[in-house]
């Protein structure tokens, strides 16, 4: 989130697209509904389903799954056609604007209606609501990202907010509600196949930076890899690691994957789960570290699997980063129960037995505080350096002193600081940055310009036009020594820049001059390294609209996409819809979380929401000869099928099937209860929706496309 949940109290309107906050983030709703009541803020909810959040909307917009980009580009076009864009903001803080306008102009309200199913008049109406109720807070979740064009969809969201001038403002912003409790922290630490902690990437410079932080020789780390080239090569992702095991797709690695450690990972969150199960059973070693046996423990039936019971997070301590970028200290409530061990103890044991403990724990004596300090030392890119363990704990002790509206402490030991020191928090006296890209206050007080990350000037292939990338003259945070745009800081300490100067002198120098270490630039509408430089609509790989495939085709196939061949064009078959006529989409329910290993083993939650089901429109159900409450089969083009209860409801239209993705313990209609360690099977079990979610991955991030696949339905 660029802003915070509390800051949403200041919004004058909301647009939620691909988010069902009322179920997925229920406690955020108090702040949203406050703005609805007090500011009279309209709430626009864009979703294929009439969700619980939609029930709170002033305007519900039913959209065809996977067509979000067309809708947003249509809104941008309508805003510009009416002259509602924020001309001042665009001319001083935005780059690549005319190139973007050219692309958006093709998305007329009528064309948007054709692609998305949203009536043209409703497109006009929504554009007007946004134009006349600024600032708008824009929220998306997995409904926006889990598509083959997810990276274009999310960029379109950002561009809409730039066009409206809603960035860097209280009540505005792009406010992605993160899912898991610490998905922000884990992402910032880059438990990712394409990055080192702090989004440093995998270049030699990145490795050398982290080797300095770890206090080990670069050559030592390089010697741990097969060859140096593999240090710089993105690894297999969570979405497709199993292709490295199965050998059914061409992989770009010298060996198949033979061992897997799943450490706090609900296995049934993977699409095409029946193929994942095949991979589990082909592994030479499978280690599952979790407080509860995950579904993997029941689907992997070989003798190569180990279950290691780690404690829950209430039996250990450490920091967690909320969706608002706030860092909180999760204090240990009790010691690990039974024979469980906390994560740190298991890691220490493992690393010791593998023989690299001395190097690994060189700076780490006190756990977890010394780890926090090592993070503080190295994660300069996003300003994770000011949140020391002592400061985080001080905020926890004094959480009652922070103001609800501003999240700033009023008096007390944290006076003037923002709750949880949202990053960037540049020094150990910086208050944190509550709103990203806000130039109304000084950098030292939590203000921030846009980052200068992509050079000083570029010329666009699309138009041939050259443009400077720095902010316009006169546009800067108060107190800035340079009155306008400026480049990122480097060579304050010769040979380093603000990201690699471990003395942090560069950062302090920038702040002393009233400037941001990362420069003051424009936000880009054109990303020249992406296949679609400006976001455009492309039909989902498995499209229910074969008539649109020719005009909006998917990408060319991508041979080495995180080490595995990934099909786009060769997968998009206009005839698929004949056999698989309905769109399959998935989502959350309030009572459960993720793959449900934890919540389905919780007696209270299990009783509240005990049964797997699929939502189906009564018209479709009756046409198929189904009865409400009867069992039905849902089948995917990949041969996955689930047996689930039909729930007749008009929440979905008559072309769409919705399933919650929290269930497991049953595979293709067969109970696996006997495969769990006796007595440890979850209280409630059901078929996993992800057995039916289709093939399809984002062209940049490889996130799986679980929201816009196809399926067929029959009586069970």
């Amino acid at each position: 989130m660029t802003n915070s949940l509390n800051d949403m109290r200041h919004a004058k309107s909301f647009i939620f697209i691909g988010s069902n906050a009322a179920e997925a983030h229920p406690i955020s709703m108090q702040h949203i509904l406050h703005a609805k009541e007090v500011n009279n803020a309209p709430i626009i909810v864009v979703d294929p389903r009439f969700t619980k959040l939609a029930a709170k909307a002033t305007e519900f917009v039913r959209i065809r799954p996977g067509s979000d980009c067309a809708f947003i580009m249509g809104l941008i076009n309508e805003i510009i056609q009416n002259g509602w864009e924020d001309k001042e903001f665009i001319s001083t803080r935005v780059a690549g604007y005319p190139e973007m306008v050219e692309v958006a102009s093709k998305y007329t309200p009528e064309e948007v209606e054709n692609i998305t199913g949203i009536p043209a008049d409703q497109v006009r109406k929504v554009a007007k609501i946004l134009a006349t109720n600024r600032p708008t807070s824009l929220t998306w979740c997995m409904g926006g990202t889990q598509h083959s064009i997810g990276s274009s969809i999310t960029r379109a969201f950002c561009i809409l907010q730039l066009v409206l001038g809603n960035m860097g403002k209280s009540g505005g912003g792009t406010n992605i509600f993160r899912g898991h409790d610490n998905v922000q922290g884990a992402t910032d630490m880059c438990v990712l196949a394409d990055n080192l902690p702090g989004y440093y990437g995998l270049s030699d410079g990145a490795w050398k930076h982290w080797c300095r932080v770890w206090d080990v020789d670069y050559d030592y780390i390089a010697s741990r890899f097969k060859e140096k080239e593999w240090m710089n090569a993105k690894g297999f992702t969570l979405a497709r690691w199993y292709e490295g095991v199965l050998g059914e797709e061409k992989i770009e690695q010298y060996t198949p994957i033979k061992a897997m450690i799943q450490w706090g990972c609900g296995s049934n969150s993977n699409s095409q789960y029946n193929r994942v199960v095949k991979a589990y059973n082909k592994l030479d070693l499978f280690v599952i570290i979790d407080p509860f046996p995950t579904m993997a423990a029941a689907t992997c039936t070989t003798d190569n699997v180990y279950l290691l019971p780690c404690s829950s997070q209430y039996e250990t301590s450490g920091s967690v980063t909320s969706t608002s970028r706030q860092i909180q200290w999760r204090h240990k409530i009790v010691d690990p129960i039974g024979g469980c061990r906390d994560d740190y103890t298991i890691m220490k044991d493992l690393v010791g037995r593998l023989g690299f403990a001395d190097e690994f724990y060189k700076n780490i004596k006190e756990v977890p505080e010394d780890i926090t300090r090592e993070i503080n030392k190295g994660t300069l890119t996003i300003g994770y350096n000011g949140q020391t363990p002592e400061r985080i704990k001080k905020h926890m002790e004094n959480w009652h002193t922070f103001d609800i509206e501003t999240l700033q402490a009023k008096g007390g030991p944290c006076d003037g600081e923002y709750y949880g020191m949202p990053w960037p928090c540049w020094t150990d006296t910086h208050p944190g940055t509550p709103i990203l890209y806000d130039i109304s206050k000084s950098v030292a007080e939590g203000g921030l310009p846009f980052r200068n990350r992509f050079g000083l000037e570029t010329s666009y292939v699309m138009s041939g036009r050259a443009e400077g990338q720095l902010a316009a003259a006169g546009v800067c945070n108060p107190g800035s020594e340079v009155k306008g745009g400026y480049a990122e800081f480097k060579d304050v300490v010769p040979g380093t820049n603000w990201k690699t100067d471990l003395s942090q002198k560069t950062i302090k120098d920038a702040l002393a001059r009233g400037m941001a270490p990362f420069g003051n630039a424009r936000a880009r509408c054109v990303v020249w390294t992406f296949p679609d430089q400006v976001p455009i609509h492309r039909e989902p790989l498995h499209s229910p609209r074969p008539d649109l495939i020719e005009k909006y085709p998917t990408y060319e196939d991508k041979p080495n996409h995180f080490r595995v061949f990934t099909r786009y064009k060769s997968e998009q078959n206009p005839d698929m819809v004949k056999e698989f006529p309905y769109v399959l989409t998935t989502g959350r329910m309030v009572e459960h979380m993720g793959g449900g290993a934890e919540t389905r083993s919780n007696k209270y939650l299990s009783e509240l929401q005990p049964e797997m089901y699929a939502e189906i429109n009564p018209v479709l159900g009756n046409n198929l000869g189904l009865r409400d409450g009867e069992m039905m089969w849902i089948e995917s083009p990949e041969g996955g099928k689930v047996k689930v209860k039909a729930f007749f409801t008009e929440r979905v239209d008559d072309k769409t099937i919705f399933m919650p993705y929290h269930f497991g313990g049953t595979l293709m209609g067969e109970s696996l209860a006997g495969n769990y360690p006796a007595g440890h099977e979850p209280y409630i079990m059901g078929d996993s929706a992800n057995v039916c979610t289709n093939y399809g991955y984002d062209i940049i991030t490889q996130i799986q496309a679980t929201k816009d696949g196809l399926c067929k339905v029959s009586r069970a």
């Binding site: 060996t255 706090g264 190569n304 180990y306 209430y314 469980c340 996130i703």
Partner: protein, 197 residues
Amino acid sequence: MAQRKIHSSSTIGTKTSRVTLNPKVARRSFLKLSVATAALTGAAMTTRMTAKAASPAAAKAAYPDSKMVRSICTHCAVGCGINAEVQNGVWVRQEVAQDHPVSRGGYCCKGASAIDMVTSEKRLKSPMKRVNGKWQKITWDQAMSEVSAKLTAIREKDGPDALHLNGSAKVSTEMAYLQRKFAAFWGSNNVDHQARI
């Protein structure tokens, strides 16, 4: 039932655990109420649930010699505050955090039932492996020694990229950092977590 679970969850380092309210009644009324109010949204439902779960007297009186621990819910990224009451090393009761600046006393049903992350009888208590298709309890030492020996053998034979580590968005930031650092020291970029999907 709840009392037994609290007992079984406190096998380490505690002599006794005591629950003053009648746990059977508390659990029944908790669940009955939750079903009756299931149509309401999470927040509204659970405020009432937690209020009615304990009898008025038990709700007010602190457990003798107990302490309150401030912590954070493990379910979603809103980051709601939790006040946990701990007696003799046992988590005996959970309170809303009225003064938390984000959650302000709110809990959804997942947050309201956070205590069962620790007390659930479904929790694994010992390392296990499959032997001839049957689960068998093993010691930590056996588990870690076999796992590390197998990992080392695979690394030597097939190379470090033969391992993939699925890390987690459910662990602390410090632990997530160690997961990424582990992959680096192991010698592979085959590491990823749920943010990808």
